[in-house]
């Protein structure tokens, strides 16, 4: 399955304030793309528009699998998303969170994959602890497991290394390298080390 993503004339206003206009870009599998820009430049807004959780004022976001457009209703099956404002359920354990996510997504709760991801992010021993007992760094790692659980074709990472220690950051970079083979990876960040992973950059500020 070949996944492609295209942005056509994407324009966004908040009230009267223009965030960006006429962003045109094509993304293809096997690449890591970066969204760069200062704080408030609209990187997170653009990731939300790509994820389909925020409406643009003008333009189109085209998600395609084997050249066939993915319906908006089914987009969540192809999408993995990590961001600082993403929250998981504190009243559930890591395992319970992932179990509910799998069931709601309508996929099998793949214990082998979950075990692999929990081990990768050093959370396997804490998998039965409630998330409210996790540190912010552990919660950030948990967000990666949430995003990768269903092997998405589009991985959207908004400030992926925030709250992570050096070991966590290396793990993220390794994951990005692995995932880019079979999916499109987009990183929105200010960190130069994060953006070094990207083969192409969109400077959001240039679209004012």
């Amino acid at each position: 399955m070949i996944y492609t993503l295209a942005l056509e004339n994407i324009t966004k206003y908040f009230g009267r304030q223009l965030i960006f206009k006429n962003i045109n870009f094509k993304f293809s599998q096997g690449n890591v793309y970066g969204l760069a820009g200062n704080n408030g430049s609209g990187k997170s807004t653009l990731t939300k528009i790509i994820a389909g959780v925020l409406s643009q004022n003008k333009g189109k976001v085209l998600h395609k699998i084997d050249n066939k457009e993915i319906e908006a209703e089914k987009l969540h099956s192809y999408l993995g998303f990590v961001s600082p404002y993403l929250m998981l359920y504190d009243e559930f354990t890591a395992n319970e969170n992932l179990f509910h996510f799998a069931k709601i997504r309508g996929i099998k709760f793949d214990e082998e994959r979950i075990k692999y991801l929990l081990n990768e992010f050093n959370l396997y021993r804490r998998r039965n602890d409630l998330l409210k007992a996790y540190s912010s760094g552990m919660k950030q790692r948990m967000k990666f497991i949430f995003a990768l659980q269903h092997s998405p074709k589009l991985l959207l990472l908004d400030e992926p290394t925030s709250n992570l220690d050096e070991e966590g950051k290396s793990k993220v970079y390794k994951i990005v390298e692995n995932e880019k083979e079979n999916s499109v990876v987009i990183i929105a960040s200010n960190e130069s080390k994060d953006l070094e992973l990207c083969s192409k950059l969109i400077k959001v500020e240039e679209y004012k």
Partner: protein, 219 residues
């Protein structure tokens, strides 16, 4: 099936956090106690007890049913849900949760009423139970849709009953008539028109909810 999974997640979460159940239980107890104290030994008509029953049900629903979306918004998990499920899945999952909550709430209130109010005498129990069932479904459907609308507002608590009142008014008025018929021991055939209004209300609200939810759910 996916909608059922959303319901299961919410139910398990509710059992741990008691967001809605505690609010509902306290509200039911306090409201019925206030009514009992304010009546004292004064004799009241059975029609009035029927009317008060729906007042308690309406305000209890207002105190607890918005939690399905408000709790997601307060915990910041709305985005998570948007990323794992289609809007229709979320709507029906939340609706199942509110249906169960309303049915439990209505059973508890009616049970307490039957015990505590001597004048609450239903002659046609069948008609009353059908009205109660259709009315509860209507309240759950409307409340779920309105809860989704107000969840993002700053003044959630005030906005919920204010928005709900005009939408639930035709339902409550119909239910008051049907409760009166049940107390008078009228037949199903006598209350048929009102039952048809209840069914139509439920179908219209369910269809409107399904069609509009997509626009409410996405920012």
């Amino acid at each position: 099936m996916k909608a059922y999974s959303v319901f299961k997640k919410d139910w398990q979460s509710e059992l741990r956090t008691r967001y809605a159940i505690n609010a509902l239980a306290m509200f039911i107890l306090v409201t019925i106690s206030v009514i009992l104290f304010s009546i004292g030994d004064e004799p009241i008509s059975n029609y009035l007890t029927g009317g008060l029953l729906w007042v308690v049900i309406f305000f209890s629903a207002m105190s607890g049913l918005s939690r399905v979306f408000v709790s997601e918004e307060e915990r910041g998990t709305t985005l998570t849900l948007q990323l794992i499920a289609a809007p229709s899945t979320v709507f029906f999952g939340k609706l199942i949760f509110n249906l169960i909550l309303v049915f439990l709430m209505v059973i508890a209130i009616t049970f307490l009423y039957a015990i505590l109010f001597d004048n609450f005498i239903i002659e046609n129990l069948g008609l009353f139970l059908v009205s109660l069932f259709l009315g509860s479904a209507g309240i759950a459907i409307s409340s779920t849709l309105i809860a989704a609308i107000i969840a993002k507002a700053n003044t959630k608590g005030t906005l919920y009953p204010v928005l709900s009142f005009p939408i639930l008014l035709p339902l409550i008025l119909t239910l008051l008539e049907l409760t009166k018929f049940s107390m008078d021991g009228e037949s199903f055939a006598f209350g048929w028109t009102y039952l048809a209004i209840l069914v139509s209300y439920d179908v219209v609200m369910l269809t409107a909810g399904f069609l509009l939810f997509d626009f409410i759910w996405k920012e």
